[in-house]
Amino acid sequence: MTEYNFAYLDEQTKRMIRRAILKGLAIPGYQVPFASREMPMPYGWGTGGVQVSAAVLTPEDRFKVIDQGADDTTNAVSIRSFFERTAGVATTTTTSEASVIQTRHRVPEEALTEDQILVYQVPIPEPLRFLEPRESETRKMHSLEEYGLMHVKLYEDIARHGHIATSYAYPVKVEGRYVMDPSPIPKFDNPKLGNMPAIQLFGAGREQRIYALPPYTQVVSLDFEDHPFEASKADHSCGLCGATDSYLDEVITDDQGGRMFVCSDTDYCEGRRAAGFFGEMSAENPSAPTMTTQRNLEFQT
């Protein structure tokens, strides 16, 4: 613990990042360049998010990390232990108990509060990059609010698939001004970004950009009048907790095509099960063919 400054980064660097965060909060959706540091983890593992978390963490904070909704993946575990070691902060997997939540590809199902900060890991912060590779040109397009190109991408989707097939990193317009990439969250989560009481910070380490949404910001998903935005999810209920309103992951259970849908937000799912809810494939449901029994059957044959 003593060999590192609090939260790994030196104070000067944290100050620089905080300035970028404050600027981002002042201009919601605007990508602020910052001098991204080398972190002791590879790019793509959340170096942007980690630097933002390091800059906002205080010793009193309780830190939670989720990766695709789960607290127990390698990525989530290693970032959590990174801050346990370098900042000595308390950690948790319970959404409501956390004061800072770093996330990759999801927004927690449970509504966040004004006392919380949500930090997103962002691989490519530029929503216009797909169609306009020149950074000089995309910056000009942002500054002049020339966003027709964003709709060209959606047009191409409909032309090719009959509907807007973009299902994650679905572009949004912030406060009627900047078009922003919400990071690769499923579009199911897009509506949660708008009017959220918590502060939302986005960090892209490799691309050296930070952007932000202050509390209660207007965030609108782009769409066409005749192809309106839809926050879609798999048309099932959670096999474990029975939730019908949460984003689901499809889990392949065997090599005979068996599968189940479960909440991607593991904390939300556990919370519901602890409260007595169960889904049709959960072990608590006596009528369900559980995974355990299936496994037992396989052993017998």
Binding site: E146, A159, R160
Partner: protein, 260 residues
């Protein structure tokens, strides 16, 4: 007669230098609604520099380019704000590049290419955008069933026609063309010229066409400017300049063309 109309575009003393080298010097002219002007000259004569200065792609070192805007009447586009100038570039102005790939998005379908300008000016109804794109593909003689194909699968002539559709879909009033038939087969050129002529007449377009091909200006342009070493050496009615050139350089240019 249209003699009492005010000019759509008024170019006053445009000069552009590249260090000590003259790009173009002290070019002035008026272009009236519905007029098509050709600018001819050999490579390096400054005609493309002039075109780019007028279209806002290059900042001239001196001079004004006054355009009769729909909202505020005549305005100098050189000194107007960049957002305003870029807005003109998406609405009242169009620019047809010599190489279609400079003017198209090669990774986007034909329909998306045509629809982009519509979306850029705020159209948000997919069905309407697609309907207009289909209509424009027809007008430039591209089969409607190619609407979802990318321009990379098109021939050179088709790409150029697609570029024209993409430019004209928002009903611009002034079209800048840089060697629009350059690099195309002769038979394809004829078809394109015929198409351009029809569009210019039907839409009442004004156009400025830079080319080194005198046949192109004879067919398309009402008026002609001959440039040499960055300066305009002669201007007048197209057929008069071609059939009775006055300046030594124009005479050389005209007499150098093989008769067919």
């Amino acid at each position: 007669m249209s003699a009492d109309l005010s000019p759509l575009l008024s170019v006053k003393g445009i000069s552009k230098y590249y260090g000590a080298h003259i790009g173009c010097a002290d070019v002035s002219f008026d272009l009236y609604p519905g007029e098509v002007m050709g600018i001819v000259g050999e490579s390096g004569s400054g005609k493309s520099t002039l075109l780019n200065c007028m279209a806002g792609h290059l900042a001239p070192d001196a001079g004004e380019v006054v355009f009769d805007t729909r909202a505020d009447g005549p305005k100098d586009t050189v000194t107007m704000s960049e957002p305003e100038r870029r807005m003109l570039g998406r609405t009242d102005w169009a620019f047809v590049h010599q190489h279609a790939r400079d003017g198209l998005r090669m990774g986007v379908s034909a329909g998306g290419n045509v629809g982009e300008r519509l979306m850029a000016v705020g159209e948000r109804h997919y069905g309407d955008i697609r309907g207009k794109a289909t209509d424009w593909l027809g007008r430039v003689e591209i089969d409607a069933d190619r609407i979802d194909d990318r321009p990379t699968t098109f021939s050179g002539g088709m790409q150029q026609r697609l570029q024209i559709a993409r430019n004209l879909v928002t009903g611009p009033r002034l079209v800048f063309m840089d060697e629009p038939t350059g690099g195309l087969d002769v038979s394809v050129q004829a078809r394109l010229l015929d198409l351009l002529r029809g569009l210019v007449r039907d839409m009442g377009l004004s156009a400025i066409i830079v080319t080194h091909d005198l046949a192109v200006v004879r067919l398309l342009a009402d008026r002609l400017m001959v440039m040499k070493s960055g300066r305009v050496v002669e201007s007048g009615l197209t057929d008069q300049v071609l059939d009775d050139p006055q300046h030594a350089y124009s005479q050389l240019l005209v007499s150098s063309v093989l008769q067919v």
